[in-house]
Symmetry: C2
Subunit: 442 residues, 2 copies
């Protein structure tokens, strides 16, 4: 009993968490329940049933299959459904009127052949990228409706048109309820989702790049390999959502393009531009991943050498992060961004990094590294003891990486050069991001 | 007429191209056509119709909605459909038998309330990650069937069980045809697709990294920015499919896990391991993206300096590429890979790179760069003339990158250090790849 109570408690908590993550989910569930109740009234209320009869099931089916989370997705599915049904009804009527002229046996063969051809052709059509993107559901519904009408009307002569009409009316009622629910009652807009996710991606990257550089120059030795890619790592958390956002972005943009104008900003924001910005952000993200990789490599520049460049690097990262945050807030407020202010500070920070690199060239060449050797070796010992622990946890650490470690004593300055270079690369990428955000603001 | 002929020709060519890209598409279309014809025989053949009647439409519906491209997807949808239908039928029967005990008005209210509660609850359930991943379609079908039975049985007293049974029989027939078509007649396996895509991803990365390093040290100045991310760029083409493979991989692995054992290798290959390998490959891909970024940055190390490290770098890249190709072929042949052979050559190449870096440290520090200044400036002029051309094509090149170019004359050695460091990073990542492939081979 104790265990059951505990289980029920756990279940209840996970139910609550789903709702807390996004309260619109609760609202959407209630909306679906309400729509289904409304549509089942078609059958439950005696006067309505007299008019519609068993065709009410088509309205039910429409509501279950068409009502989606966002308005754009619902509109897209609804229009696809109506178009598919209309075309299928028309084609079925045509086929039936041709078949009616002939004898019983020929009629069966003719219908079977048509079913085969239409089935194969429309399945093949779904592989066209354009149709797949926009009308996949419509083609499916076309195929479904065509077959249902053909099969169910075979034994009901001279009746096809009436079946098609009745079904169409009830489907239209179902679509009407779906549109009402998704467009008028607490609507969720795909466009809004896309907008918000773009803003949060920019902010995530800003956090990520700043945390990354801070960690690189921090004095505590953090066991990076152990943390790996856990969600607690703020750096990973920041860029994670950016990396795999391609398909989500594209779906949201597709749905958003079906949505009517619902706020004063909608005309000014072409959704395809958000997808483009997403592409550029993803590439910015790859640079951040590479920067993050610098924290995790086997060979590391000694901390004393790094400390020489600490100040300018942190400032560059801070400026990049600030720029990203400002871009995010300008998108959030639907304002034109003003990147000119940023470039001055960024330029100054870059120049300082430049100066720092210029005046410490000896430390960056392998020859003069001997002075910091002791510190480096000591640090390496620390590191290797960590690695033993790490090896105990992991089953088998391959031999290759050990070779890499031992053979690369010379190039301890190399990783820092890579780090600095990637930071400059990030600035160059920031450029492209600003360009796309400006395009978006136009 | 001429124009129409041209259009028809174009359409025909694009129809052929879709089929040529993957001939299984044609086969699948024919299979769908055949299944639909078979299922419509239930209605077209008089003796069969006598037994089944109008319930044949449920078999048609099942075939249209369940038959998918791969066996795993079909099995998953079919089982979901059967489970959903069974549960919905049972629940509808229970509700109906409770409602039957009461008066007419109370019965309507009771049913409407149930429809609301079940609708809201099952929509909410679809947000649970576990259910969303495995049983999303099943919940949808449950909701659909429950509502259809409830609505259509309201006016048909004492009849629910019969409706549910008949419907279940025909759905079972539909599922049977789907299973026959997808498992026995030219089956497409998701597992096979996943296997092949993993192999081609490994090969793509191998091509990519080799092409990248070769291009870095090649003497021709290629206009990289102009090529950008076009598909003709062999480097981009190689890693492109890796980067956004997460969702495809996961779907394929999910479907593959539903597939029965169909070859002698299937038990030895847990599909989740392919997903893990995909993760590691994606991270390897990010390093390749960063390497590719080195070819495209604004600041470049002079070619004369690069040439000093040409040989070891190209050898390291060649070894990495060779290792990836061998891993790909060992996966393709379902063999245990033998990475020990590789590490020797790779180690030698790494050591040579090491030596090269050790004996040319002056060229890598900013101080001694004056000797190569002339060459560098000349090359820069070349580059800036390209950039003018580039600027003419693009509408507006932002100001920031120009600042970056002018201010970063000092650090021309930096990009090469980044390049070398990323190459070493790639070797370290290769390590993880080998580890996962070994795990897969076990």
């Amino acid at each position: 009993l104790e265990k059951m109570k505990k289980n029920a408690d756990l279940t209840w908590r996970s139910i609550c968490r789903i709702g807390e993550e996004d309260p619109r989910r609760v609202l959407h569930s209630l909306k679906v329940g309400l729509s289904l109740t409304l549509v089942s009234l078609l059958s439950l209320l005696e006067p309505l049933f007299k008019g519609i009869g068993q065709n009410a099931i088509w309205a039910v089916m429409t509501v279950v299959l068409v009502l989606e989370f966002t308005a754009g997705a619902t509109l897209r599915k609804g229009l696809n459904r109506v178009l598919g049904t209309l075309l299928a009804g028309a084609l079925a009527f045509l086929i039936e009127s041709i078949a009616q002229e002939t004898g019983q046996v020929f009629r069966s063969i003719f219908i079977a052949t048509t079913v085969f051809v239409i089935g194969a052709a429309s399945t093949y059509m779904r592989y066209f990228p354009y149709i797949r993107k926009n009308y996949d559901y419509g083609v499916l519904i076309f195929l479904l409706t065509f077959n249902l009408i053909t099969v169910s009307s075979y034994h009901v002569h001279n009746y096809v048109l009436k079946i098609a009409c009745n079904r169409f009316y009830t489907i239209a009622i179902g679509c009407g309820i779906c549109l009402l629910m998704s467009l008028l009652i607490f609507p969720n807009w795909s466009g809004q989702d896309l907008h918000n996710s773009t803003v949060s991606k920019l902010e995530g990257l800003a956090t990520s790049i700043e945390a990354c550089v801070n960690e690189y120059f921090s004095d505590e030795v953090v066991v990076h390999v152990a943390k790996g890619e856990s969600l607690e790592d703020p750096i990973y958390k920041g860029y994670k959502s950016v990396l795999d956002s391609k398909s989500t972005d594209e779906t949201l943009a597709l749905h958003a393009s079906w949505e009517p104008c619902h706020s004063k900003h909608c005309n000014r924001f072409p959704w395809q531009q958000y997808v483009k910005l997403g592409d550029v952000l993803r590439h910015f993200g790859y640079t951040v991943v590479a920067l993050h990789g610098c924290l995790q490599t086997e060979i590391q520049t000694p901390r004393s050498v790094r400390a020489l460049f600490r100040d300018p690097c942190i400032r560059v990262a801070g400026e990049v992060s600030k720029a990203l945050t400002e871009l995010a807030s300008s998108i959030r407020k639907h304002q034109q961004c003003a990147p000119q202010i940023l470039s001055d500070h960024l330029h100054k920070a870059l120049q300082d990094l430049d100066t720092a690199l210029k005046f410490q060239p000896r430390d960056l060449s392998g020859v003069s590294l001997s002075s910091v050797k002791t510190e480096s070796t000591e640090w390496k010992l620390k590191r290797s003891s960590e690695q033993v622990k790490e090896a105990e946890r992991k089953v088998l650490r391959p031999t290759l990486s050990k070779i890499a470690i031992t053979s690369l004593e010379f190039s301890e300055a190399l990783p820092f050069a890579a780090f600095a270079s990637l930071l400059v690369e990030a600035v160059a990428r920031l450029d492209l991001v600003i360009e796309e955000v400006e395009e978006l603001g136009r």
